[in-house]
Symmetry: C2
Subunit: 137 residues, 2 copies
Amino acid sequence: MNIGEAAERSGVSAKMIRYYESVELLKPAARRGNGYRDYGEADVSVLQFIRRTRDLGFSLEEVGALLALWRDKRPSREVKRLAEAHIEDLERRMKEMRAVVRTLRDLAQHCRGDERSDCPILDDLATPRSARRKPHQ
Amino acid sequence: MNIGEAAERSGVSAKMIRYYESVELLKPAARRGNGYRDYGEADVSVLQFIRRTRDLGFSLEEVGALLALWRDKRPSREVKRLAEAHIEDLERRMKEMRAVVRTLRDLAQHCRGDERSDCPILDDLATPRSARRKPHQ
DNA sequence: CCTGCACCTTCCCATAATGGGAAGGTCAAC
DNA sequence: GTTGACCTTCCCATTATGGGAAGGTGCAGG
């Protein structure tokens, strides 16, 4: 099948399929007489694999590693370790985001949100509250 | 003061200070006889403002908007709205990440994580469980 | 047979924010 | 006067993706 159909069936854009090939995440596709790339069912599976791991937030480098594990039938320990490392990474980032949300809520709480211009959010941003002493000297 | 000191005092690298100037987030710095940029206390405050808003995850474009609100003494309503929109954005992203974590945990649970190569994670990635019917035909 | 349209090819450019590094000017201390 | 720590500008790389140009291909309808 042509790249367009492979793209539609896998959910990976044709542009990205070519890109993945160029960075050697995929082996060079078979070519037909006219130079068009030619894909089969197995290729669509690989593309779906890539799409799904990308959706789960793995970087292309990590996707490459997972793909290698898949192809080489390596011990499942490695796969599980990668998945768990990724979970930990996500949890660490969520923790940071929660802290940011707390800070923003805190700042927003002290801002009237009306027509007047005095909003402590902005002054706090230039000089964090914790670092300020005797604001009016 | 030179750019190096302004960088150290604000926590924004010299490289980034020049970049912010180049994209017009900052007004062109004053120059001394030798061509060196020259900064004062007010500039350091602005840089700290930028650093802090960046730390809170605002894009440079949003930082520019907040900076304009700060400088122009605009109604605090606008500031509060920006902060709240950002909170909602963070919460939406955290929700997505939580869903991904759930999926990964689910996948990892069915993987023995030992020396053997059969790990359903990888097969699920190529053909999501929900889309699979009668695996062995 | 020609035309149009949809598809394919490669190549270049842009994005967001940051860092690395080269080539060259400046300043201060010794 | 040399050394070393600054500063300047300019170019390049990163990550993953899309946009678009210029040109070839394939098929359907007139």
